[in-house]
Amino acid sequence: MSGRGENPVAPAIRVTDLTVAYGDKTVLWDIDLEIPKGSMVAVVGPNGAGKTTLIKSIQGLLPRVAGVISIHGKPYEKQRKEVSYVPQRGSVDWDFPTSVVDTVKMGSYGDLGWIRRPGRKEHEKALGALEKVDMLEFAQRQISQLSGGQQQRVFLARALVQSASVYLLDEPFQGVDATTEKAIVTILKELVAGGKTVLAVHHDLNTVSEYYERIAILNVGLVASGRVEDVFNSENLMKAYGGKTSFFPERKAARRAV
């Protein structure tokens, strides 16, 4: 099922000359990035590299100094409905007085537009998404009573309700246990298998090769981007992380080959 506004040849996401600054501090510098449709992409880089900033500025949440973002060949502003967002879990107040299912329903607000309230259809959809992330039994629970992994699942369910074709996730595996991580990866891989595009900020370099086909290595500038086999190597990681990295993809690959 191709989305509403897809151009079959254009990349799912194209970022051209993106530069973003907070005050006088440049956080992203002249980023050019193309994400082909139907790929699963990791964004890696040290703390403060600008990964969150990249995800946010793709969606126009931050003022850009320069740059153009297009989704399936059209400007982002016309393609909002094609993009789903899973923010960093810590970015909201989980003590907020609302239930799990109502939180998931927020994913349908965009389609509803101004003023119209969610109804039965939206409720069913939210329950469906909760079932996908294996959280159906928690539907009526207060969000303040969820564990970190459950919070992450709720956020994912909310994004699923948006039924977009491009998913942007900010550290979806942060502070979740191995079971939840596997469950989330499975869902993301299903999305990709269905022709969707997934871009996720990722911190654990050990699992990059296992989870993703493509990678973008970032540190203010874009160090490298492409297929994991081609660009996920110690040279590029050294460039991004400085001498601080002790992770060498080549060795791991060699070990696996033995």
Binding site: K56, R80, P87, P97, T98, S99, M106, W114, Q162
Partner: protein, 374 residues
């Protein structure tokens, strides 16, 4: 006092005043919930204090104590304060809390200076402009209540229409932004609604205490419920009851301005809620103590069982002293044993010796911590 209250409720003027206080309560309860949910309690405080110079200036310009100009003046200077705060924080290194503190003192100070000046002017009787400091609901007339009602209706209408958008704004504005809702416009709309609540509270509660009228009911309501809808409704109810009670109280005791009387009522409810609601301080302490007692009981039961197993006889009796060994100081084994005895799980045999009963043995089997956890 009681006679007085009866008189108050049967008198037409009094009913008008009480109606005004109740409407004000409903509106500030609803609107204040948003200030609390957005963690912007301080903004309400700044805005209500900042209304003062606008009130006095409007009076100076118009020359009579006319309602509408005063409301507009109040609203304008409250909004101006917010605007100044944004301007300062966006263009300097000054943090938001310092900026708010400065805005509050500068605006309120200016207001007081102007007020003093106006009151020295010879002709005008100044018709008690100082009533706006602490509120004087007795001065409310039918026309005032009408304006309060209409402004309040506007605020409630906005909240009703943009319910889901405001929820996004409070919970996850970034996410709302990605769905194409203009968070900036919504932010302004919420500010407008808060300002209208402040404006209609000027006569009844006054600028000094108006922020408590916004914040306290919402804080109290939040303690009792986990749903935003019921929180808003409950806050409205709490504020309305406090408004009416406060006005009645202040009329009963001469010389108490209505503002403080209303706020005392709200504060009592808020205080009670924070201490005794299901998530309140004492309730949690009590629950804590109770679950600790339960766990201790289970623990003693388990120890009794484990020791008995060593003798290959689930009903083997042990001395209380043996049971107390290895457990922490202050762990009153006897208390737990008594409780278990009452439940029929253990029985005492001879002097201070205890053993499991049949139902106790049965109970131990259910004691897997995983089973209890869910």
């Amino acid at each position: 006092m009681l006679e007085f209250a009866v008189e108050l409720f049967s008198d037409y003027t009094a009913r008008t005043i009480l109606l005004g206080a109740a409407s004000l309560g409903v509106v500030s309860g609803v609107v204040g919930s948003y200030a609390v949910l957005r963690k912007q309690s301080l903004v309400g405080d700044v805005m209500s204090h900042a209304a003062l110079p606008g009130i006095v200036l409007a009076f100076m310009i118009v020359g009579v104590k006319e309602q509408l100009p005063i409301f507009i003046g109040a609203a304008l200077s409250a909004v101006l304060a917010v605007f100044v705060i944004n301007l300062v924080t966006q263009n300097s290194r000054i943090k938001i809390d310092s900026a708010m503190g400065m805005a509050l003192s500068v605006f309120f100070g200016l207001g007081l200076v102007l007020l003093t000046y106006v009151q020295r002017m010879p002709d005008a009787n100044q018709a008690g402009l100082d009533k706006f400091l602490f509120g004087q609901a007795e001065a409310l007339v039918e026309k005032d209540v009408l304006i309060i009602g209409l402004t309040g209706l506007f605020a409630l209408l906005v909240v009703g229409l943009f319910w889901k958008e405001f929820k996004l704004l409070c919970f996850d504005p970034d996410f709302g932004g990605t769905m194409g809702f203009s968070m900036k416009s919504l932010d302004m709309l919420v500010t407008a609604v808060i300002v209208s609540a402040i404006v209609i509270g000027l006569q009844t509660v006054g600028v000094v205490l108006m922020s408590s009228m916004l914040i306290a009911p919402a804080v109290a309501a939040r303690q009792w419920t986990g749903s935003m809808g019921s929180m808003v409704i409950l806050a409205a109810l709490i504020a309305a009851v406090s408004g009416v009670t406060g006005v009645a109280l202040s009329a009963g005791f001469e010389n108490i301005p209505t503002g403080p009387a209303v706020i005392v009522c709200v504060s009592v409810i808020a205080f009670f809620s924070v201490l005794f609601s299901p998530n309140g301080f004492f309730t949690l302490k009590f629950k804590d103590a109770r679950s600790r007692r339960e766990i201790k009981k289970d623990y003693v039961l388990k120890v009794l069982h484990d020791l008995a197993l060593e003798h290959d006889d689930p009903g083997y009796a042990h001395s209380e002293r043996l049971l107390a060994l290895g457990s922490e100081k202050g762990f009153n084994v006897k208390k737990s044993l008594w409780a278990l005895q009452t439940a029929g799980y253990v029985e005492s045999v001879g002097e201070d010796n205890w053993r499991l009963t049949q139902s106790g043995i049965h109970e131990v089997k259910k004691l897997s911590p995983l089973e209890k956890g869910r």
